[in-house]
């Protein structure tokens, strides 16, 4: 059952140095505040996982919290590069970053396998590309009925998953809607999961297209209004496109980034 605690407390209880930490939210409900809480916690040597690393992983990478990144597409959508990600990969600053690189289809199927209690998933994917040569979590499997060769991807079961949702009830059941991404899969694949929410309500009135995550599959729920900014939370606030552009500037140099980081650490 999920406990309702502060975000700092949730991080303190459920994240350890060296953990594989998945952060999901596919272009929506990105738990950016959780990333800042991870930075403040001092947790390090993390293996981050996110289909679209976005600003949240760029910050964690720049802060030196990550030893590795599993990802699908590492750009600042509509703006350009994730500069801290690039600086880590191209120059090893502030530390080298090992890459476990997938397509979105491949990475989401790793979550699907993890959520399903299977060691791998079958898909058509990566065929003819250079990705498998650089990634031991992509392999082949032969159909026992047709003899056809297909792609296998290894299950991913993060130690901890972070997601952001619109709301929770007092028992810690969580509801999200709009673009729901892979949040259900990552939570069900993870050993522990922490959800930040916009608000706690008495009753989760159902919405078309919503996803309910029951309290008994979650570890902690923390109320963090605006916790997805500069991403958005459908029904609460819009995507802050200027915020993404601003991050493009802030992150551009080590100096401007470090100034930002000092601000986070002292807040």
């Amino acid at each position: 059952m999920a406990e309702l605690v502060s975000l700092a407390e949730a991080v303190h209880r459920h994240v350890r140095d060296g953990d594989t930490v998945a952060i999901e939210g596919f272009t929506h409900l990105i738990p950016t505040a959780a990333g800042a809480a991870l930075i403040r916690s001092g947790r390090t040597d993390l293996h981050l996982v996110k289909m679209t690393p976005d600003v949240v992983c760029d910050q964690l990478i720049g802060a030196g919290c990550a030893r590795a990144l599993t990802f699908g597409w590492g750009g600042n959508a509509g703006v350009g590069s994730l500069h801290r990600f690039r600086d880590a990969v191209e120059n090893g600053w502030p530390r080298p970053l090992a890459l476990d690189e997938h397509s979105h289809a491949g990475l989401v199927n790793r979550y699907v396998a993890g959520a399903s209690g299977l060691p791998f998933a079958v898909m058509r994917g990566y065929v003819g590309t250079d990705l498998p040569a650089h990634n031991p979590t992509i392999s082949k499997v032969t159909c026992p009925f047709t003899g056809e060769e297909l792609t296998a991807v290894a299950a991913l079961n993060p130690d901890v998953a972070f997601i952001h949702a619109q709301r929770a009830d007092r028992a810690g059941n969580v509801q999200l809607w709009g673009i729901v991404g892979a949040q259900k899969e990552v939570v069900l694949a993870a050993r522990r999961s922490i959800v930040t929410v916009e608000e706690v309500v008495d009753t989760l009135d159902r919405r078309p297209g919503d996803v309910i995550l029951p309290s008994w599959v979650l570890s902690a729920v923390a109320v963090v209004p605006g916790g997805a900014r500069p991403s958005y939370a459908a029904g609460y606030y819009e995507r802050d496109n200027d915020g993404y552009r601003a991050w493009g500037e802030t992150s551009k140099t080590r100096e401007s980034f470090t100034a930002w980081l000092d601000g986070v650490r002292s807040s």
Partner: protein, 246 residues
């Protein structure tokens, strides 16, 4: 009315969308698809990778996950369902891809410039592209034509066009027909049906063969019936310029 090159590229792409299902990316693809839907292809079904199927946005999104893509959609699916139930079986007829590098056989690199382990430039990576390129009915690429982008051989094969040439897609078991149109700021390239090599089938008005050749890192061929891209009509331009941006 004078069209900019960007507008010409967008309108050229829009004209190639005649109906059915279209897997849309951000930027020109989204502009082109929404332009087509407002003009000659009102029933075009727009799908965004983030989950919306049948989106009818009034504002052109900045990210593939903007809120209105979902609220205006017929329905929204999760990422797993999108790739497994919808994209993988080939339910999408046309898809757009971008490219940092593209080669003679329309293979695409969006991963690294330089060696993978010691990249000169780390690019964003694969995203949805490898499976889009494999499974969609056909792919349309929109890219600036320069020697940096149009290379003899891509540094990293992120998405397969025609691989090493004729028959390679079939040997790999890829179901879609691959890139059928590459729309650039100089014109349009299409694969030669026999050799699978990208050849210039149209140049934009005022663009010379020499310009195209100079912008291409392989020995560029031109179609026998090389066309000049038709300019956007006033209606196309007015509609495009009237599309509100997010």
């Amino acid at each position: 009315m004078d069209a900019t090159l960007d507008e010409l590229m967008t309108v050229t792409a829009a004209r190639a969308l005649t109906g059915g299902t279209c897997f849309v990316g951000i930027g020109k693809p989204s502009l082109a698809a929404n332009l087509a839907r407002r003009l000659h292809a009102p029933d075009l079904v727009l799908i965004y990778e983030s989950g919306p199927i049948g989106s009818k946005p009034t504002v052109i999104p900045m990210s593939i996950g903007d809120g209105e893509l979902a609220t205006s959609a017929d329905f929204v699916v999760g990422v797993a369902e999108m790739f497994n139930y919808w994209l993988q079986p080939g339910r999408f007829q046309v898809a757009f891809l971008g490219a940092a590098q593209i080669d003679r056989f329309a293979n695409i690199n969006t991963t690294v410039v330089g060696p993978y382990q010691a990249p000169i430039t780390r690019l964003p990576g694969a995203g949805g592209a490898p499976e889009i390129a494999a499974s969609c009915g056909e792919v349309m690429v929109i890219v600036q034509q320069t020697r940096r982008a149009f290379v003899e051989r891509v540094d990293f094969r992120t998405s397969v066009g025609f691989g090493d040439g004729p028959g390679h897609r079939e040997r790999l078991g890829l179901r879609g027909r691959g890139p059928q149109r590459v729309i650039t700021d100089l014109g349009v390239l299409q694969p030669d049906p026999a050799t699978c090599e990208l050849v210039m089938t149209a140049l934009h008005p005022g663009v010379t063969r020499e310009q195209a050749t100079a912008a291409t890192g392989w020995e560029l061929r031109f179609a026998d019936d090389l066309q000049t891209t038709p300019l956007p009509t006033a209606l196309e331009l007015t509609t495009l310029r009237g599309l509100p941006l997010g």
